[in-house]
């Protein structure tokens, strides 16, 4: 049994390896279709709309790339867990799924340049003047216990700042919306969601805690496709199209230097 499994695995690996050798950009242009994996459970990057079709930043980005290439875009909804396997088994040509870069992932796939800002930071209403951790003096900041931003805040906040820790994201959001805390340490997507639903307490970015922008993921050894995707992203940044996506889905302009 084990032997047969191993044999099957070996064959599968070999098949993937040979398929990957064909130039992906060529076959996309030939078939006039690009298959792009997008998230289905991660608003505002990708979630099901009222018509049950995926919508979000990543879907718009996928369509933009298809349009620039002059081919049809085939949207493939995936989850966080299976987005890289979809790429590795050639079920998708690109993964545009709020994918962050890390060492493990860089071993198995390649990344384009960043196409979407994704970061955690300290947010507050316009009226509050805070530009760094030192300015948190005398303020109360809400954060979700155990989250990266909460741990960073705990070590960086001055001693007379109060960090209030809540059990989950919803309680942290409730504390900010109800005014129980002056500031909130969270991700930019959460801040965008609050801004949309409670404009009176719209959280503005005060400073960034951890920056981990999203990249387009693609298979290794596809220099032509990688160069093309990078070219499209660079062009869209310059033309302001990515800025528009940010305004549309993240309710905020692109952060400076993006």
């Amino acid at each position: 049994m084990l032997k047969r499994l191993m044999l099957a695995a070996a064959i599968a690996t070999a098949a993937v390896a040979t398929q990957a050798h064909a130039d992906a950009l060529d076959s996309i242009m030939k078939s006039k279709v690009i298959k792009i994996a997008v998230p289905q459970d991660f608003a505002p990057f990708g979630s099901a709309g009222l018509d049950l079709k995926p919508q979000g930043y990543d879907i718009d980005m996928a369509n933009l790339i298809g349009k620039e290439l002059g081919v049809k875009t085939e949207i493939i909804p995936v989850t966080s867990a299976n987005r890289i396997p979809y790429l590795q088994t050639n079920k998708a040509d690109l993964v545009i799924s709020s994918l962050g870069k890390n060492e493990e992932r860089e071993k198995v796939i390649d990344f384009s340049i960043a196409y979407a800002p994704f970061f955690s930071g300290v947010f507050g209403t316009k009226a509050i003047a805070v530009a760094s951790a030192a300015d948190l003096k005398g303020k109360t900041i809400g954060a979700t216990r155990g989250a990266i931003e909460e741990q960073a805040l705990t070590s960086a906040a001055p001693p007379d700042a109060t960090v209030k820790r809540f059990e989950d994201n919803n309680a942290t959001i409730a504390a900010f919306v109800s005014g129980q805390v002056d500031l909130i340490a969270t991700g930019n997507t959460v801040a965008a969601a609050i801004a949309e639903k409670v404009p009176a307490r719209a959280p503005m970015l005060k400073y960034v805690i951890k920056d981990s922008p999203c990249y387009v993921g693609l298979n290794k050894n596809e220099p032509a496709l990688l160069a093309k995707v990078n070219e499209i992203i660079t062009k869209a940044k310059a033309s302001g199209e990515i800025g528009k996506l940010s305004e549309k889905w993240l309710k905020a302009p692109l952060p400076p230097g993006f």
Binding site: G142, R145, K164, R165, E167, S178
Partner: protein
Amino acid sequence: MSYKLQFAELLPYWNVLLYGLVFTIALTIVSTAVGIAVGTAGAAARTFGPVWLGRIVAVYVELIRNTPFIVQLFFIFFGLPALGLKLSETTAAFLAMVINLGAYSTEIIRAGIEAVPKGHIEAGLSLAMTKWEVLRRIVLNQAFRKIYPALSSQIIIVMLGSAVVSQISAEDLTYAANFIASRNFRNFEVYLLVALAYLVLAMLMRAALRALGRVIFKAR
């Protein structure tokens, strides 16, 4: 199953645990004292007060006894600011516990009051005692003696239930446990230790309440 217990990893957090323990004890003592005062007033109002007052107390009792404590707590902490009433997490926790114990103890004390024979009250009044004297020396005296064990149990329940206040970032013993678990991931050790702390606390409180009862209700 080869989990290695490492209680030593909790040592760096002893001050967090100690703060949480003191917070839980202080919160319980203060809110118990005020809560029982509320309950006594509620019970007296329901049995001897005017009808409209009794109805208001009845609504309060039913409202609190038929809704979850965490919902009451969230309503006070996250809900009331919408009406302009913003309470700190400690005040909100204290208030929620007082309101909660107040409702339960109203019913417990009322049961005690109703168990006092009418003849005792009539006897007191015919001896020219004022209404207040009758209430204090005859009714409440006997009522509390009867319901003291039930009230003690309710106080312990409130102390254990106070763990919920960690959800609004009040820094009690459970908050300390959650905080430590989020830092060193030693969930087994942390929650075992804190469970033992609650157990010891509950047993000590029971013993203290029993001793207090002996002093208050000395056999005459």
